[in-house]
């Protein structure tokens, strides 16, 4: 038998390979590393998965049905009415007046339709432009709306509705000039609410920031001083 690998037969070379080729055993640290890498993390409590699943389901259902839930109505009747007026203002902002008639030509017709006469009406100035006037029917009351727009594009809506006996929300009343209207915030809009006899008057705009409210006060004074609604019948 030869010791020269080059002269070995195929079978013999195979045997010598198995016998003579150095073997490299795995270091102990490799086994430790593999076992450590494959260790399972500590088991979660058995109730955790179903509890999380239930919470997630409840959250999703709440998010889905939240828009369908009825909004809480304000406790103050004036605030509830202001919310309805804000909805009308939003409609006018999005879709415009239903019948954009121009004052004062339409005043007799407005009086006939609403039962409210405007003995004086703010017809606009350098700050506010009159856009339209129209009759409205809100909360089962016939009233009228006059739409203005200021130089910055804010639409301002003046609404008069018959509301005998409507109490004013005292806690939100603000002293402006010689008047004390209530300031109501709803859904991103501000409303001045005040009474003139049995009529409830509203001035609505999207002016809600502190600086806007200062300007909105000025608009209130302009409209309040120059407009005088009275029941026609």
């Amino acid at each position: 038998m030869t010791d020269r690998y080059s002269e070995l037969s195929d079978e013999a070379l195979g045997r010598r390979l198995a016998a003579d080729l150095p073997r490299h055993a795995a270091p102990a640290r490799l086994r430790v590393a593999i076992e450590a890498a494959t260790e399972r993390p500590a088991r979660r409590p058995f109730w955790l998965a179903p509890a999380l699943a239930a919470a997630a389901t409840a959250l999703i259902l709440a998010l889905v049905f939240m828009p369908l839930l009825p909004r809480l109505s304000p406790s103050e009747p004036a605030e509830r009415l202001a919310r309805i007026v804000v909805a009308e203002h939003t409609r006018a902002v999005m879709w415009g007046a239903r019948r954009p008639d121009i004052l004062p030509a339409s005043l007799p017709w407005l009086t006939q339709e609403t039962g409210i006469t405007l003995t004086k009406v703010f017809a606009g100035d350098d700050q506010l432009n009159l856009i339209a006037a129209e009759p409205v029917y809100l909360d089962q009351r016939r009233g009228l709306a006059v739409h203005y727009r200021d130089a910055d594009g804010h639409q301002v809506t003046y609404v008069v509705l018959p509301a005998p006996g409507l109490p004013m929300p005292e806690r939100t009343r603000v002293k402006i000039d010689r008047f004390r209207p209530a300031l109501v915030h709803d859904n991103g809009f501000s409303s001045w609410v005040w009474k003139e006899g049995d009529l409830a008057c509203f001035l609505v705009s999207d002016m809600v920031s502190a600086s806007d409210v200062v300007r909105f006060k000025d608009y209130f004074v302009r409209v309040r001083l120059a407009t005088e609604p009275i029941p026609a019948y």
């Binding site: 010598r16 055993a25 490799l30 593999i34």
Partner: protein, 170 residues
């Protein structure tokens, strides 16, 4: 098979896999990485192992595939990027690169000659002759017909003899 049973049986082949990895990578650190990656994959995909088949062959197959996927790819990237040789010009069997003093030192002519064999020739000799796996399992590991395995063993031994003959002349 329970996970702990499977892990115990798989770890029984640690030394053989490490030896195989050493001859494939010629670098102790890379061999350890390769073996560790092999076991992680084996444990992750243990549900795919069919009980009753040869676990050892399955582990060798994972190790070789991992080596081909990561280590061989990395080995080829540098020369291709440097000389711009396109893929289709690369030879099917690569000669092992010149020995690097930083890698494992070879102590015998046989070991040195094995390192100079192309990967596929070295692999087939390690699996069939050193580890003693049946030709069918070697064919399964190398994803080729049994006839190809036989042919490669024959040609690998021819090449090995030629290299050893050179050493014996010195």
């Amino acid at each position: 098979m329970a996970d702990s049973d499977f892990q115990g049986q798989a770890l029984a082949h640690l030394d053989a896999l490490h030896n195989f990895a050493m001859y494939l990578t010629r670098n102790p650190a890379e061999a350890e990485d390769l073996v560790q990656e092999t076991y992680l994959r084996a444990f992750r995909f243990s549900h795919r192992f069919q009980p009753g088949t040869h676990l050892r062959a399955w582990l060798f197959q994972i190790l070789r595939n991992t080596f081909l996927t990561f280590y061989r790819l990395r080995e080829r990237e540098l020369p291709l990027a440097e000389d711009g040789v396109p893929d289709w010009d690369a030879p099917m069997f690569h000669e092992a690169p010149a020995e690097d003093p930083s890698v494992l030192e070879a102590h015998t002519d046989l070991e040195r000659a094995m390192r100079r064999l192309p990967d596929d020739f070295r692999t087939v000799l390690l699996l069939a002759e050193v580890e003693g796996l049946p030709l069918e399992e070697v064919a399964q590991i190398m994803a080729c017909p049994v006839g190809t395995v036989k042919s490669r063993i024959f040609r690998a031994k021819e090449r090995l003899r030629a290299i050893l003959r050179d050493y014996e002349k010195i």
